[in-house]
Symmetry: C2
Subunit: 192 residues, 2 copies
């Protein structure tokens, strides 16, 4: 059952009690997405967060008619335009299912209410924000410290599963390089 997976995930964090979980229960809405369906559209303000039971999403923006990926989400991740949700400003991104997906939806309003009502949820929110920040720092550092080749090799090591589920041209744009450049890079590395 979908809700169970969410609950199991929350329990595993050891941050909230069963009682805290129960608060959310009535506000959860299951939803499915077909591959290529949009979760967030550029220009819209994000009011919903999804916990992914199954499937995958990508976040991308369009510049000069070209799609650039900034983020991938998988099982047990929260799919959300965190930035747009936090600031309540129009999203600069699209979020698209790249596989058929099942998510549990809840609204930002409910989340904020949980933050207000429960110190535990507030802490949960802080830790989520801190974790998200650290991931984003890592990404900045990868751009500052490394060149395209090093970023590729690091990604290969850190998220090998990404390469099984996502085509290379999506990964290239995530790495901040052109798909042609990634292709040449891979040949160079393969040849030694």
């Amino acid at each position: 059952m979908w809700y169970q997976q969410f609950k199991d995930y929350l329990r595993s964090t050891q941050l909230v009690t069963d009682e805290d979980c129960a608060f959310f229960e009535p506000y959860l809405k299951p939803k499915t997405y077909k591959a290529k369906e949009l979760f967030v559209k550029e220009g819209s303000i994000s009011h919903e967060i999804g916990f992914i039971n199954k499937g995958a999403f990508r976040t991308y923006y369009i510049i000069d008619g070209k799609e650039i990926n900034t983020c991938f989400f998988f099982e047990n991740d929260f799919v959300v335009d965190y930035d747009s949700m936090l600031a309540q400003t129009p999203s600069k991104y699209y979020i698209e299912a790249i596989e058929d997906a099942e998510v549990m939806l809840f609204t930002a309003t409910v989340l904020r209410e949980a933050y207000s009502k429960s110190h535990n949820w507030e802490r949960f929110g802080r830790l989520m924000a801190e974790q998200t920040y650290r991931m984003s720092t890592e990404r900045i550092e990868s751009f500052l410290f490394m060149n395209g080749e090093e970023r590729y090799l690091q990604l290969l090591e850190k998220q090998p599963t990404l390469f099984e589920r996502v085509p290379l041209y999506h990964i290239a744009s995530y790495l901040g390089i052109e798909r042609e450049t990634l292709s040449r890079l891979r040949r160079k590395i393969a040849q030694g």
Copy 2:
């Protein structure tokens, strides 16, 4: 008086009560830094956070013997290697005073205690983390969306004061370009 400035800042956020503030008071330690003095050294784990009453700091790392700036702090900012403090891992950065500075120091331990004791402080922590995350996202986007010239123009518009307090070669490395490139860029822009 130094503490007053910190208190005024906290009040202005409207997130914590006078009582919440009072909790911190006994743990605050004023300290001065001379220009070029280090606040954080690469390899150390950050246990302290500083509220800046006066002065400026920069965060940089060294790669191939070259310093690269990632961040500047000024009055009413918290100077801290947030990443190292959160994860309690050795810092990858140096933080250096670039002007004589006065800060109010407090420890990460005290902050965590405040988080536990007070829902208000926990919320404060969440909002800080969220804000920091958003700033870091903006920086990532500036690298993905823009070239050196566009990053320069954006910085000029968003933080004009930076250019009055920080030499151009520091700004160049913050923008991710060489100082020569920035110089050429500025000439090109000046000429139209």
